[in-house]
Symmetry: D2
Subunit: 253 residues, 4 copies
């Protein structure tokens, strides 16, 4: 039996004259592209170019929905009534789908971005509002999130498929949670270590936590970061390491 | 044989705490609601409320697409490459469709707003970029525009159905064009005159121009304004006058 | 000895084609106009018209600074580092001052708006960031806030003058705090009662709390609301009642 | 007698998480920094960092005012009434001045950006609206523009000092105008040629046009570009070349 995993990255985060990330390099590595939808990053033209490039390479397109906060890059939570959040997410899903469809692609999954990812993981009301949007749009669309979090549960409650993701370059605690970015061991930079952990997660479904214990990581997708210097090179190293270890790279869509 | 016409109005133009127009009153009158898509006016929650209210009353929903210019209410032309305009329009079409579908409605037509309406009517490149978006989204979707204008021609060239609209409260010149707002006779305010002209247009397909001649008005839809004081009352008077004259009011969708 | 008080209201909250409030009517009543600075409401043209109208009537102009959130009308807190908030407030203060100076007025005071008002009243870090902006702009500028709150303390710590405000149409609890809007007795609508309380506060420095006790209200300014139906009439009634009671109406600037 | 010239560059064009240009490298080269004011680029925090860095290096700060169009980076003209443009420019001038003053700097000059630069150079109404803002803000503030253009004339009419600028890396036609970017010879990339032309302009007040003739360039300031790859290196080469030629580099403020 062969191990298989999806590689996803956040793409299409440029805006107007502003460029972030090396999208074309990442698209040679990932099997799923989470495309910003114009609220926290991205604009209609950037979305157009990104879905076209993804389609040309057979990379799945996901809607990377976020808070409407370009200034804060979607990293600041915005308190709003659940019905407004549902409307905001539907708006983004539809916008990306229209651009995708007209350019030879389709929205194949949903992934909340930044503060919305974190809020939906922790707050059942936010999670439910997000799932409500997914169901209203297409109840067959999977949602990429942290296994076991509130978003995961809200998907289960609503009959929406939740797809777990793991992080090759992040530290985990003994409970299987990500080490907060403010704590030591939160982000790993050594390429060999990151690749080794990626292979460990993809082949065994487990990873070594910061306390040395082994924790389960139930993930169908592995998130690679795209907006840091050296991101494309690290992503390529992870891909190559996984392939050498016999792991099949394929989209979960 | 019975004369029939559609009544359309621009709705859903409120934004956040800002309210424009008496949408609920207009929805009792019109058969088609052109709903702002968040670029020149409207926001996801306003769009949600508007499509729900339209669906409840059996009123058709159209995507009222515009330039991204809330500050100028879409009344200022924004010069941009055609591909960007296509992307902007696709974005708006998809956003409204997703919100409509999740709330029991569908986008049944497209109408450009304000400066985009005027630019697309006069500039074949802008018109073609707009039609390109409609085709990429759904080539069966009709476009509401001025009969004979560049947008009309671009639709014909692309095999997209163009639906002509007329204006009950606007003056026409002998060539069948609208009198510019800066000229005398551009806007009619007398209710009886507006109603009489509405009936004339709907039953005869012609209207009296400012020079006294009779001009053809090939319209399947009649536009009523919603954001001026007394707009709802004037709209209701037009509707009642048309009904009394035996004109059937029905959506062209 | 004569009692005296300032009457302030939030003005200049319109945006582009969107109108909120009857500014001209309120400007006939108040002695201080808190003018929105384009972040949560207002735009440069609205600011221009508002400061001109205030200057013509001898009404003081204050900078009504808020979170950059037009969609939420500044009623949603935005988490941001203190240095960013200081920069955002400086930006707004300078923008309004430039427009005021070119149009015969000056910024005479600062009042945070909506969520920023509440956050600064409760959170010493936010309060300090706001005061930092005021000091950087003009340390002689007074700040309108709730007596005794964190913003009040931050002003005292920094040597900035804090001016206390009271609310004629809001209920107070026995500790002198405003009754939350979700609780009974939060907002008073009866004109006679509101006027009587306004006079009580202005002449005695105290008001009857919801439990019947009398609480101190150390206020140099009384806030009138401008964006509700009947606001202008209520404001005029309060002004007239205060005058009849011999209270002098004058700006604290 | 010593030749002297100012070197200016557009800086502070980053926005939130988006970075454009190598501001710190350019600040080591220029004597004047035209700082974006948050309409076409920049945000309050970026403005804060930029004016601080400029002040630390003794570099003059100018207000780089533009159209409110972050999506288009201020490169698209926005049609608006002159009074609105005046208000928009005043808003930006005041915003930057407040941030500058609180951080040890002052706004020493004004330079329109992108489409506003071009529109003001060609359209006397736009130029007058811009000068009106400068006069309302501080009539002693110089304006950086093309010698002889409509903006130049509007400054002369209003008694505002116009400071001419030239471009080391742009081609000129025989009439002293810049070769349009779409034409051959518009932009020069060879470092040696650019440096030689910079020295020629600074020492002789003339430059060789595309047709080989010599044209006058009455400039007190030379514009260096900051947002292209290699910009900082080219700028440093120009600076070094000017110094070697004995040209004194000093701000015109």
């Amino acid at each position: 039996m062969t191990a298989a995993i999806d590689l996803n990255a956040d793409l299409g985060e440029s805006f107007g004259a502003y460029t972030i990330g090396d999208d074309l390099a990442l698209l040679e590595v990932v099997t799923s592209a989470s495309v910003a939808c114009g609220f926290h990053a991205g604009d209609p033209m950037v979305m157009t170019r990104t879905v076209r490039a993804a389609a040309q390479r057979g990379v799945s397109v996901g809607a990377h929905v976020g808070y409407r906060d370009l200034q804060g890059f979607g990293r600041r939570a915005v308190a709003m009534p659940p019905a407004e959040l549902t409307a905001d997410v539907l708006y983004q899903l539809g916008a990306l789908e229209a651009i995708a469809k007209a350019n030879g692609a389709r929205v194949g999954y949903v992934k909340p971005h930044g503060a919305l990812y974190n809020t939906a993981a922790a707050d059942p009301t936010v999670a439910a509002a997000l799932v409500e949007a997914v169901r209203g749009f297409d109840s067959g669309l999977p949602v990429l999130t942290l296994p076991g979090c509130e978003m995961w549960k809200a998907c289960a409650d609503a009959g929406v498929r939740a797809v777990g993701e793991c992080f090759a370059d992040r530290g985990y605690d003994a409970a299987g949670r990500l080490v907060p970015r403010s704590a030591p061991g939160a982000v790993l930079h050594d390429v060999d270590i990151v690749v080794a952990r990626a292979v460990e997660m993809a082949t065994s479904g487990a990873v070594t936590a910061v306390d040395g214990s082994s924790v389960r990581v139930d993930a169908e997708s592995m998130c690679l970061h795209g907006d840091t210097p050296g991101a494309a090179a690290l992503a390529a190293a992870v891909r190559d390491g996984l392939r050498r270890a016999g792991v099949e790279l394929r989209s979960f869509v």
